[in-house]
């Protein structure tokens, strides 16, 4: 095994070990979307009428509609959680260990991204399994077809977390991320309501939702779960992932840290 693969495996294994050690994080990551699915959706199913829109072939319940959005929510929260871990690692010093490895920095950060995405995807599958137990299920092959969509979406949101971590200097600043990144991204997307509903109330909000990369990640997941393919969602998500990754790599360049802050 070459040294690139060795380091990748070690970084992914460490992410997994850290996740196992934080059982509360796993439980919180599962409870959050389940509360939305079993409580919020139950309350809103009567209020929101859904027409037949692709990829659905027939009328669906609201619970069914929001499952892909909740999968996206898990990826989003986990991306931000890994960002929080990175800021914590930097404050605690263990980030230094990673960044002083002789392997290229882009590879080390990409390995981190792969590790956090792997954890996110496992959490999504745990959520989908519990949702199925509660009667909200998808076509069986959809569970397999959604895997690449989850990976692409997970990498995009993990890269966003990586990017944020390169700019957030202290853990205390992290609350702002919740207010200014997670909530707007989630609510200004197609996760909870179809975009045509949003267009009915405000054209501006509709435009923002349509530009939000999280919308496209959710739609990519939604279509894949129903064995359908959404090309534009894929292009948008990959494009956003590329932009976020490049910006994060720039953010972690040694020369950038010279601009006024200690490592």
């Amino acid at each position: 095994m070459n040294r690139y693969a060795t380091s990748l495996l070690a970084i992914v294994k460490r992410e997994a070990l850290r996740f196992i050690h934080q059982r509360e994080r796993f439980i919180a990551a599962l409870v959050r979307p389940l509360v939305w699915l079993l409580v919020f959706a139950a309350g809103f199913r009567a209020a929101l009428g859904l027409s037949i829109i692709p990829p659905y072939q027939t009328y669906i319940t609201y619970e069914t509609y929001i499952v892909p959005g909740l999968c996206g929510m898990i990826l989003l929260f986990n991306g931000m959680q890994s960002s929080l871990s990175l800021v914590y690692d930097r404050e605690m010093g263990s980030m230094k260990l990673l960044l002083t490895s002789p392997l290229p920095r882009w590879w080390l950060l990409f390995s981190k991204l792969v590790g956090s995405t792997a954890i996110s995807v496992l959490q999504v599958y745990a959520f989908l399994a519990i949702a199925a137990v509660f009667g909200v299920s998808m076509p069986v092959p959809g569970y397999l077809a959604v895997l690449p969509a989850l990976i692409v979406g997970g990498i995009m949101l993990g890269a966003l977390g990586l990017l944020l971590s390169s700019f957030i200097s202290q853990l205390e600043n992290f609350a702002g991320v919740m207010n200014f990144v997670i909530f707007p991204m989630f609510f200004l997307s197609s996760a909870l309501y179809p975009l045509w509903k949003m267009a009915e109330s405000s054209q501006l909000l509709y435009t923002i939702c349509a530009l939000n990369p999280f919308t496209h990640a959710v739609e990519l997941i939604r279509f894949a779960l129903y064995l359908d393919f959404n090309g534009s969602a894929l292009i948008w998500t990959v494009l956003a992932a590329t932009v976020f990754t490049c910006a994060a790599l720039w953010g972690y360049k040694p020369s950038r840290t010279s601009e006024g802050r200690k490592p």
Partner: protein, 238 residues
């Protein structure tokens, strides 16, 4: 050249200079103490030597490799013990060392052999399976030094490695690292404690971003004790 060479290195945080035109050379297999009061620029120098920061001016060579031009080759020759503890407390000593070995591309039986040898060198082999959280401060530091040796570095950097340790642990760690330099490893040891520097050690005194004196400790101090010489030098206004 298996040692460490720094030429005309400058660095500032915004407009505040942290290092000004710093040059130093540690020949292969020498123990060099980088002595300076708090805020002298030691940690900034270490951040530059480890490429956590980079400076447009100056040059750093580690075992003959230019850190800017060939960072991978230079970092592969460098062992680092940071001032801040960097062990994952939830993992065992061996797991911590294995993770580090993998970051250097070392795995499998080769990693096991190297980890055993490094732990043995620091008299930590019997603690390999203990969780880092259960070790005392001195043992944690020894585990970190062992970790820094896994890939057989030519140059070992230690940034105030005895901070927070009791006298016995300090003496033990200082002794271990002096022994490593006798075995051929080039050592740069940052400290603000004069009693960690031997008369035969090489010495660089850093103060307010500049090198005030360097050479063999005996040459820098003359007949005066190092503590007195250090206080005299750093008391002078720039």
């Amino acid at each position: 050249m298996n040692g460490l060479k720094v030429s005309e290195l400058s660095f500032s945080y915004g407009t505040k200079p942290a290092l000004e035109n710093v040059s130093l050379e540690v020949p292969a297999g020498r123990f060099c103490a980088l002595l300076g009061p708090n805020g002298a620029g030691k940690s900034t120098l270490f951040a530059l030597l480890t490429r956590l920061l980079s400076s447009p001016g100056g040059r750093i060579q580690i075992a003959g490799h230019d850190l800017t031009k060939t960072p991978g080759a230079a970092l592969s020759k460098l062992g680092i013990v940071f001032q801040q503890p960097t062990l994952d407390l939830d993992l065992s000593v061996r797991q911590n060392l294995s993770y580090f070995a993998a970051l250097h591309g070392i795995a499998g039986r080769d990693a096991t052999r190297r980890i055993d040898a490094a732990l043995d060198k620091l008299a930590m082999l019997e603690r390999a399976t203990e969780k880092a959280r259960n070790l005392n401060g001195g043992h944690r530091r020894r585990a970190e030094i062992a970790r820094a040796l896994i890939h057989d570095p030519a140059v070992l950097l230690l940034d105030e490695p005895t901070v927070g340790l009791d006298a016995a642990a300090r003496a033990s760690i200082t002794g271990h690292v002096h022994q490593l330099s006798k075995e051929g490893t080039t050592v740069l040891w940052a400290t603000h404690l004069t009693d960690e520097v031997g008369r035969d050690d090489q010495l660089v005194i850093l103060h307010q971003a500049r090198v005030l004196a360097q050479g063999r400790c005996e040459e820098v101090c003359g007949d005066a004790p190092l503590a007195d010489r250090f206080l005299t030098l750093t008391a002078q206004p720039r």
